[in-house]
Symmetry: C2
Subunit: 98 residues, 2 copies
């Protein structure tokens, strides 16, 4: 199955909706730096995202050190951003305070 790449307009709409996320400099991914109270909360968050990712068969690139999680979302099969990244970013937002 080919996955469509988002248009520039679709991408801009998502970034406007999700202020925590920014476009990576190459324009092919979105990324966010997420802060939690401690490692337990950070990994609890990662576990909820992992269960989503496993079901959606769409996976983040992410780095964790203690209470910080840096996430990058892209769709390799689309050669850039797809609806799957937008869906995952929206799901991530539902897990975050405020």
């Amino acid at each position: 199955m080919t996955i469509s790449r988002l248009t520039a307009d679709q991408r801009d709409a998502i970034l406007a909706e999700l202020p925590r996320w920014r476009l990576r400099s190459d324009g092919l991914a979105i990324e966010a730096e997420l802060k939690f109270a401690d490692f337990n909360e950070a990994f609890g968050f990662m576990t909820r995202v992992a269960l989503y990712a496993d079901k959606a068969d769409h996976h983040p690139e992410w780095f964790n050190v203690y209470s910080t999680v840096h996430m990058t979302l892209t769709t390799h099969d689309a050669g850039g951003l797809s609806q799957r990244d937008a869906d995952m970013a929206r799901f991530v937002e539902t897990l975050l305070p405020g």
Copy 2:
């Protein structure tokens, strides 16, 4: 509590015991690139390490994309490698095949 930094001899003994791990170029951390069958296995591994880390109050720096986990171990309170990193690396080894 001050945590002692490993001596060069202790560090070399650990690296000899754990061939999957290499010293980071600055000498202050050890790192390993771990490959799994898929995301489910990779995150299952991370979950077991996270439970250990939470109990030990010693946390890895790690990056995951799909089936790959890149781990870096260091002890900030020791300004380099400590026994805690050696213990965590040995625990990681018990979770890996072969």
